[in-house]
Symmetry: D2
Subunit: 291 residues, 4 copies
Amino acid sequence: MTVHNEALRDHACLIVHGPDQPGLVAAVTALVTRNEGNIVSLDQYSDNPAGGEFFQRVVFHRPDLAAATPDIDADLTATLSPYGVSWKLTDQSIPKRMAILASTSDHCLLELLWRHRRGELPVTIPMVISNHTNTAEDVRTFGVPFFHVPSQGPDKSDAEAKILELVTGNVDFVVLARYMQIISEDFLDKVGVPVINIHHSFLPAFIGAAPYRKAKERGVKLIGATSHYVTKELDEGPIIEQDVARVDHSMTAADLQARGAYVEREVLARAVQWHAEDRVIRSGNHTIVFT
Amino acid sequence: MTVHNEALRDHACLIVHGPDQPGLVAAVTALVTRNEGNIVSLDQYSDNPAGGEFFQRVVFHRPDLAAATPDIDADLTATLSPYGVSWKLTDQSIPKRMAILASTSDHCLLELLWRHRRGELPVTIPMVISNHTNTAEDVRTFGVPFFHVPSQGPDKSDAEAKILELVTGNVDFVVLARYMQIISEDFLDKVGVPVINIHHSFLPAFIGAAPYRKAKERGVKLIGATSHYVTKELDEGPIIEQDVARVDHSMTAADLQARGAYVEREVLARAVQWHAEDRVIRSGNHTIVFT
Amino acid sequence: MTVHNEALRDHACLIVHGPDQPGLVAAVTALVTRNEGNIVSLDQYSDNPAGGEFFQRVVFHRPDLAAATPDIDADLTATLSPYGVSWKLTDQSIPKRMAILASTSDHCLLELLWRHRRGELPVTIPMVISNHTNTAEDVRTFGVPFFHVPSQGPDKSDAEAKILELVTGNVDFVVLARYMQIISEDFLDKVGVPVINIHHSFLPAFIGAAPYRKAKERGVKLIGATSHYVTKELDEGPIIEQDVARVDHSMTAADLQARGAYVEREVLARAVQWHAEDRVIRSGNHTIVFT
Amino acid sequence: MTVHNEALRDHACLIVHGPDQPGLVAAVTALVTRNEGNIVSLDQYSDNPAGGEFFQRVVFHRPDLAAATPDIDADLTATLSPYGVSWKLTDQSIPKRMAILASTSDHCLLELLWRHRRGELPVTIPMVISNHTNTAEDVRTFGVPFFHVPSQGPDKSDAEAKILELVTGNVDFVVLARYMQIISEDFLDKVGVPVINIHHSFLPAFIGAAPYRKAKERGVKLIGATSHYVTKELDEGPIIEQDVARVDHSMTAADLQARGAYVEREVLARAVQWHAEDRVIRSGNHTIVFT
């Protein structure tokens, strides 16, 4: 059964994305109004008002939203098709289903579980999957199902197949919460939902493995973390959020890693929240984030 | 003669403020569209979608804006009067005229002059007025007229009268860039334009004089600065922007003051820019800032 | 039985505090050397090199520290008494015992328990005491004893007596992790160990109750948190650490509170760590923090 | 004639650097004491207390420092030679002589000149050298000599020869304040003093030209600046300081550049101040910065 968020009952989020044209904002707002919606928030961005790409996010309240949705959908098709733009209408009261993949590190995993318990992440968490068992007890404390899918050996296809079996049809997006296995192109092709990763460096600095060791070697004065959508190009996907922390010469690579963990959990939690709230629009290798 | 900013030619900014009602956003965007405007950016906020206060800022491009303005004004009156909201339409290509009042400190004054020369502040600066002469040479380097209005003695009414004479009718707002004289209620009544101040503390901490000395005495670990509109209640006006800097036990009150100067100039410059771009809406003792 | 930290085995921390005099640093470092210690880190501060107050923290490694301590103590007395300064020598491998007092909010409490489990806080936690029971299950997951001491009614003396009974002789310091009861002067007199609090505002702004509501009313653009030692003057004790987060007009008082929780847990955790590592020296209503 | 800073009269800074050994700190502090110095500040760092590299910075006050310096030098040789460490003793009241090289951008150049006039940089500025003339007027306002050394054409050897002629023997370090010419290895060999650069990205991200354009293409959420010592490997020298600023999808590459200018001037000014105060010790491709 779907969990509904009472405060967001009858709130819809409409994302519009396509070529910018005069009158587009007015067309959307008029559509909302004639469908008895009251606009709660509206964000828009055009990368070039003279013929660029247009992005819009409108949240509106409409009593009996579920009953009205077929009519609104039909009106959207009639109204927006001539503009050649795409759109997506979601019911904000239906939380997205999020799978978390983790390894031994617990800081990102527990942060997500804890923020969810506080009611700060509009998601449900049908499963945590880990290739280790050390976090199983903690995860169960939060009342979330824990699945152990080991990934020994060079061939990860068995593990990936099991993960696909667990997530397919059951989740709306997947979060890699310091999951220390490379995701194959094949997995990305099959999973069919967005995959969000947290990389433990300030991308594009220190791409690849062991970024804290590389940061120590280079002698940087700030370390960072980056949350991004996973694409077939490793560490090259669209960036959702980044942040940094100050470090100094006295810190070892292990100190950087310990300090960086606090940046990682914060950056990932923000990215997950924005994604869950439909605040992130992907465009090529970029993101538009309406915070 | 008015300086015009070429990049903002034919761009209008419309501010709407009043009781929130269904259909208001659609009414405004439809109005812009039927007056041949193309919306470049749109920000809105309602402090309570069910009957709260509504704030909106729309920037739109409209060829031959000046010629069309009377028609747009008439349409605004016809369209928005029924909603009981207030509005203000400004031509973004006409920079606001800003007077700067200063004393001996040069850091806020020079920052504003320098950012203006870089083209980052959409204002003209018809005058700098100071109760000291030490910055006169620097100000003239920037090609800005400098007026010395001394303010000796306990009675400031003569000085204020001279300042009023200089600014009345000549400026759209006044900036106190570390002007170390208390502004009288009488001056505020007469000046008739917004007055922006930079206070050298993180308000409401350390209200009044000598905030860096008080900060040292209290042993705080961060110092701050606050830019606000000046009202008759000293240091109590609506806050536009604030920021802080980290300090430690080893710093003297003079060190705090030197460090704080960098926060002050940054906070004041941001507040001035946002005000000049019509991004700040006052509401009671608060500001809505659409950045 | 005392838990020992292997990495800090045979490490001593020496704090020296008193009137600054020529030769004091040399006297201390010579003492360490002749007692076969190797200085690992040394921090010092004088609020006025010409006759001010002097603060020093020296960490040194000395094989068989426990056996050598009586001799070092005797040498300290002989060497430093003539200078009229006070000193304190601690074995860094013996973690301080910390009691946590909490109420319904879990964010500061869980952050301390979790950082402790990660090995980032050099303390033992013999007890968590709460006037509510909602966090009992979580606390037990961390293997820490939980005591429920209710505090109904206006007279808190019974509750305080029970807390004193639990902590007396069993802990080296007490942390108020969003404990929502006023601590009496009598309790402070009797407890005999430092008490660290986290206040949910950027002190001295918004002293007293409901700081997030007051922050909303004043329209500030940053909110903050302050960790300080508790003294008989409410919210006036020496500040150990502070930090802030950016907020805007669209956030309600409840939003500020939710956002502020992340600042609170971070600020408190840093203050606790620095206190546990003997990095904080109190001097009047100030702290010297050697980070 | 050398400018002396009154507040730092008779203050010496001693830097010690070499293999860590027991007793080294005590040997240095005893030396200062027997030479009648009073230690004002002391910082030290060892990258491994068991046989690593040791770095120390001691500032002490010694009446009639100039007269005592030969004796102190002799004592340093006698005392520290057996330890196999290197040392450097400088008179803090003698400011370092700094040449600034600039191109058309004025933000870093003016920041250094202005901070120097405020008394915040302990340097003298015998010359500004630019390959353009647009900043000449501003530089002269600060009473600093301006030299125009054009650098047309692919062969920069003439321009570099002229710069070497100007700086050789006249300055203690060179600052590239957004100087947009590649410095040749030959120049570095001949100049014989440290050269500090400001790179307009968060190194090692976006090495090379046009970092703001690359940052826009990658869609980062923070931009940065890095000040480093120049070495023969372009953009690979030891980092002194870094900082970042938050950006978003709506900003163009030009916006990033305008925003980044404020980070650049702040980062470069801090690096220059620390270098001028002998707070930065180079070790391989790293820096130890005692702030």
